[in-house]
Symmetry: C2
Subunit: 482 residues, 2 copies
Amino acid sequence: MDKAKNYHMSPDEFRKYGKEIIDWIADYYENVEKYPVLSQVNPNDIKKQLPETPPAESESFDQIIADVNNIVMPGITHWQSPNFYAYFPSNSSGPSVLGDLLSSGLGVQGMLWSTSPACTELETQVMDWLSQMLQLPEKFKSSSTGGGVIQDTASSAALSAVLAAREQKTNYLTNDKGCTGKLTAYISTQTHSSVEKAIKIAGIGKENLRLIGVDENLAMKPEALEKAISEDLSAGLTPFFVCASVGSTSTNAMDPLIPIGEISRKYKLWMHIDAAMSGTAAICPEYRHFLNGVEYADSFSFNPHKWMFTNFDCNCFFVADRSALIKTLSILPEYLKNKATESGAVFDYRDWHIQLGRRFRSLKLWFVIRHYGVNGLQYHIREHIRMAQEFAEWVKSSDDFYLVAPAPLNLVCFRHKGNDEFNKNLLETINKTGKMFFSHTVINGQYVMRMCIGQTNTQPKHVIEAWKTIQETAEELLNQDK
Amino acid sequence: MDKAKNYHMSPDEFRKYGKEIIDWIADYYENVEKYPVLSQVNPNDIKKQLPETPPAESESFDQIIADVNNIVMPGITHWQSPNFYAYFPSNSSGPSVLGDLLSSGLGVQGMLWSTSPACTELETQVMDWLSQMLQLPEKFKSSSTGGGVIQDTASSAALSAVLAAREQKTNYLTNDKGCTGKLTAYISTQTHSSVEKAIKIAGIGKENLRLIGVDENLAMKPEALEKAISEDLSAGLTPFFVCASVGSTSTNAMDPLIPIGEISRKYKLWMHIDAAMSGTAAICPEYRHFLNGVEYADSFSFNPHKWMFTNFDCNCFFVADRSALIKTLSILPEYLKNKATESGAVFDYRDWHIQLGRRFRSLKLWFVIRHYGVNGLQYHIREHIRMAQEFAEWVKSSDDFYLVAPAPLNLVCFRHKGNDEFNKNLLETINKTGKMFFSHTVINGQYVMRMCIGQTNTQPKHVIEAWKTIQETAEELLNQDK
């Protein structure tokens, strides 16, 4: 690399190094179980190995890859390990990575239909496919009043929903006049923190967000929701938004969509459904019932980047009335005006989310759906649920462990009969081995272990090994205490 | 692909198809000039070729790629063509695409330090490198009070700045209590529309956003800014935010940072600098003066995905006081708590932006900086500017065309001496040939062509051809009219 060749990587070099990276990734997938799942480094361990100043001269690709291996890799927590059971998964697959690669290579920026019509139209079609796979009501389809758009994360989708709800409730005047402090929103105590964040960002104020109580299954209590709405109305406030969760992050609790939907309709609230991970299950007919009530919703979102083999980031956000969303988020400076937009015959997705620019994310989703087919996707979702249900049975029939919440799908929340400190110690001891990685939550004041099965390559043998490790580690810790 | 092999793409298949995609991209780069730059399809041309229902069974990778070639490619507007002069560029490079591929392959989700320490620490270091390359004040470095974070777009960065400014000005009470309608913000008539969008999203209200007039170079008038602030103060309002542009989107106008900075300090406004494209020029010492005054700023953002050979999306957002940003955007539900976060020894970047989840974007930026070296990046930035300046000279010495705004760097705004209709016709006629792609703006009511030179592979021969085409097409149109 020198000035004579203008520093650029030539197509031939790109072929050579590109194939090396492809092999690197394939090797990684073949060997991912050899790495500690949870990175074992300490703060600053990675940073201190990196030069403090940027290189003045170009460096060789071989050197860069050597540094990936030696410096970066010890600092990776392996989300693609079959032994990753923490949080919600962020799973991936070969076709997704290659679709994403093609998107990077094409380097199109799809802010407007005209800046790459295929970027918009493929996305519209793939979102319509998904609405069929999930059996969403007709109103969420592009051929009807609504449609789908790919966003980065469920956080951005929730923010978009809050904003459209805010504007719709205030005759699209808040965009102009600012918030008045009269609007109130409703979530449960279990709703993902991103909705609270959205309420703050949108200028609504956390004090105007009601945390509705939950029942013994940690699902929102509709009667408590209606009571809160009534009280706010009596106090002269304006209820405008409710978020129901299909699978809360903490325990996969399922809010009752139908009564919440009826209440939201009665009081004219925008109903958003956050089905970030668990929405994917609804592509299997036997799990579609978790979405019953979605017909009441104004917006719905789930993340193929969690449990549908599509690498991060890929959130799918559907609205029933796209005009509400577009009126809320549209901007049209002169330098973005064009004939296609003016004709009204096209979608310009920059008006469907916070950002202006957008990459060609539908490619990877299209690759995934076509590579697996709906049958292939269903097969793996069923396998994950089957393994989790089996794990839940082992816990239930154990003398030392017990379930702490229902396990409707692929997340099992459980704990040892010992105290919080013991459970915390158990989790951290296992994570420290690097053999597998769990995360925790707190339910009713108690420390709880979470086992979420959704990584692409998790197989029964891994789950068996996990249960064995949990039991053996607990026994070792008990023996140490003696 | 069948159930027996679980539908997954095997590592060997991944190697095979991955290398095919690498070759596909290399072929694309070698042949990109053969495609029409602006896609020539009509609305629905792409969508109607796609099946209305998703495939039940898995399809072959060869079929998917065939559909990319036959269905998708005609709908691509080629941002990576050297003949792309529209908007701002969204350029890319081999090392960036490969760094992004590695990020997709690793599939880590860096919401917390602990969910992949390398994802956080490499980002911190690369952002510190960039702050050196741009000669940003010490306060923007992670070792001082501030630091940098990669966001998706300048829109999200501007929103983050508005929110931190809003909270800082209101003692972090707006997050809790909601907006009061008393805050006022300031931009110029030329500021990017994303700031207006951010003001709306944040609940401030467009009516509380002052569009400050500009001088003959389309730069914000500091005296008009101070007057607007004074009037708002007199009216009992609370000025809180000003955005200065280093290179407006319409014409690359340069707002005067020093007087704006002095005013923002005098009246205690948060000063954000949007240098989306032109910030990159400041890595060359001779263009660093465009950032003089950044020492007054509270936040600064620019997009390596525009003009620094890093594929979309990659915005770099720097703050002088990270605690203001973190206090504004932090959330910490139980299920995300961990020892490293509690120790305070690490950054958790999910508290630095809107989203919770985040991909490993610093890899591609690290690959680019190391592959090119600072010298290589400077070389290309200088080449782009040199070509644009040469083009501007041709326009100036032409009898038929003239410059409509100063061309400080790589964007030339010009028009034919004919009327608006003629200029519009000229632009559309050229774009319709597919040989090159320009976009337009309106300045002082006049339709203006924009020639922005920043695509990775644009060389003098392309710019010569562009000027020739513009002149010849104008003549043809004039002859047609006769």
